[in-house]
Amino acid sequence: MATLTAPQDTSGLPTFRVLARRSFAAFLRREGFGLFALIGLLIFILGPMMSVIFWAFADRWRYPSLVPQVWAWQNEAEPWRFWTETFSRADILRGLPLSIGLATIVTGLSMLICLPAAYAFARFRFPGRQLFLLSFLTTNAFPRLGLYVTISVVFYQLRLMGTVPGVVLIQLVNTLLLMIWIPTAAFQGVDRALEEAGLDVGASPRRVFFQITLPLVLPALSAAVLLTFVGTFYEAQGAFIIGIPNVRTLPVIMYTLIENQVVAQYGAIVSLVLWVPSLFMLMFANRLLRGGYLTAGFGV
């Protein structure tokens, strides 16, 4: 920190401009690499994002222009025509509530199955516990597409292909890892002495769980539920293979639009719309991340 007392003789000392330049040079030397990496990262991440945003708001964009020639609102005859077209499509209008509904059902079922299991993992030492806990990694150990294709054979026989229950089941499997590991670690983090103290003052085991254990794991649980909801909402591979042609979630529609349509605006608009819930969720998750709950969740 520089002090404000002026030296008596300033003739031999560097001027402020020289000092500023020097410290900037020193700053660059110290932080130069980090700065370079940050700028590179921004270009790689923001670049494609900007492309999607431009396409979503473009009316006409032809090479070699860097920005759209005609923006959506600049079209005199039909302003925002791509937007109105997109939102009048039946499959998109059906897709949004379907996606939200599916994600809610899957998250709800996942909580119902996984939370009691997580409590059991945390509190009871049963034979095979460690192996069982690690086994949930297997869903992530293989390329998902291969698993889905083989599962679809079974689903065909069970008449689950193209049905909502079928999609629910396949998306449920994807949620198991997160919804068991994070809550297990969270429950383990609650010292047994806290629960015993609850019993000691006369609370029943049920009351101890709901009034003592649950409030203490709520942050970590909320993080797990959040990640599960967002992950399920965006899940497209399983929903695609099991769900089509009857059940088409919004991400699936987005992929088909991007792949099949010559006009890029449709896919870009749906992409943009799909960002919105994710943005809200991640802002909320950021608050939880600061509490260290997510990282604590992986210390099994």
């Binding site: 002495a193 103290a197 609850g198 019993l199 000691d200 003052v201 609370a203 029943s204 003592i212 409030p215």
Partner: protein
């Protein structure tokens, strides 16, 4: 009347016997300490009393009624744990009032009882704070308040002060004793700190490897330890191996009178440092005299109001002696030692005590 009786209480974990058929009785209003090294089974015994472990065998009776079948939330006991006892998401007043709430008491009454509890432990203004805002000592005091507010029959404490610094420990010890006397509650206190046990307890149960070594008043445990383990564990002790032959005990090159009816064979002599008298200027062949040992001061430690001297006695080893602060003693001095009182431990027989009259010219540490 809140008496506690343990009858042949046993706890086994597979092949490991943690608590091996222990028996004792605690009277109403008594402060009993269970003292022992880590792993001796004292915490397991306490947890069985509180209902957090199921005994493998035996019975726990409160006021003559067996409570073994009752889960901890139904037993008339309250426990203060070693750490993490307060619920962090509730205020202090809610922590204390939780048990009262469960019993359906009206809100005004709960608030009044909570305030009484807080005053009892000396923290009357802390009701609205959260546990995270409290220091370790304050947290344990609130934990005590929470246990006492329910008027349990037996108060159980599992090394509650072991996580606190030394000065705080001493202060809280005195607080606890005062509160226990005031409320007149039967208390069982588990600790590995023998100083804590000696200063707090009405009686001490010394445990080792799942068994009870001795149950006695603190003064009796200190002056007449019933076994070598207790002799070694409590206070500082000189343990000197020797051999008994025909009424005298030989320790290396020195000799001591043996107790009455002492069988011949190997023995261990236990002498408290303060029960060894010291005479300066030894080395004139007094070792021939039974009871006087020639030695050289090996080390002198200043411990505040007294000094601890390590005397190297030929053939015996280093002997610890307490000397007065004012004693004219320096390292390397020749001294003579004279034991005034000692215990003799023989394998398979009861320990025996020997007293000797002090002789002239020998300094006694008081």
């Amino acid at each position: 009347m809140s008496t506690l009786t343990l009858i042949n209480l046993r706890k086994q974990f597979g092949d490991v016997v943690a608590v091996n058929d222990i028996n004792f009785e605690v009277a109403d209003g008594e402060f009993l300490c269970i003292l022992g090294p880590s792993g001796c089974g004292k915490s397991t015994a306490l947890r069985m009393i509180g209902g957090f472990e199921m005994p493998t065998g035996g019975d726990v009776r409160i006021d003559g009624v067996s409570v073994v079948d009752q889960p901890p939330n139904k037993r008339p006991t309250a426990m203060v744990f070693q750490k993490y006892t307060l619920w962090p998401h509730m205020k202090v007043s809610e922590n204390i009032g939780f048990g009262l709430q469960l019993r359906g008491l009206p809100r005004a009454e709960i608030a009044q009882k909570v305030q009484e509890s807080l005053t009892l432990v000396g923290l009357p203004t802390y009701g609205n704070r959260y546990p995270a805002q409290l220091s370790g000592g304050e947290q344990q005091r609130i934990a005590l308040a929470r246990a006492l507010v329910l008027r349990p029959k037996i108060l159980l404490l599992d090394e509650p002060f072991s996580n606190l610094d030394a000065l705080l420990r001493v202060r809280l010890r005195e607080e606890l004793r005062r509160i226990q006397r005031q409320v007149r509650i039967t208390a069982i206190f588990v600790t590995h700190d023998q100083e804590e046990a000696l200063s707090l307890a009405d009686r001490i149960v010394v445990m080792n490897k799942g068994r009870i070594e001795q149950i006695d008043k603190p003064s009796a445990i200190y002056s007449s330890p019933r076994s070598l383990f207790v002799a070694d564990f409590i206070g500082t002790m000189n343990l000197l191996p020797g051999k008994a032959t025909n009424g005298a005990i030989t320790l290396g090159e020195v000799r001591l009178p043996a107790p009455e009816n002492q069988p011949n064979g190997p023995v261990t002599v236990a002498i408290r440092p303060e029960e060894l008298a010291l005479a300066t200027g030894g080395g004139n062949g007094r070792n021939g005299n039974i009871g006087l040992w020639d030695g050289v001061v090996s080390q002198l430690m200043d411990l505040g109001h007294y000094r601890k001297a390590l005397i190297d006695v030929q053939g015996v080893g280093l002997v610890k002696v307490y000397v007065a602060k004012t004693a004219q003693l320096g390292e390397g001095d020749s001294v003579a030692l004279y034991p005034l009182r000692y215990m003799v431990y023989t394998e398979g027989a009861a320990p025996a005590e020997v007293r000797q009259q002090p002789i002239e010219g020998v300094m006694v540490y008081q």
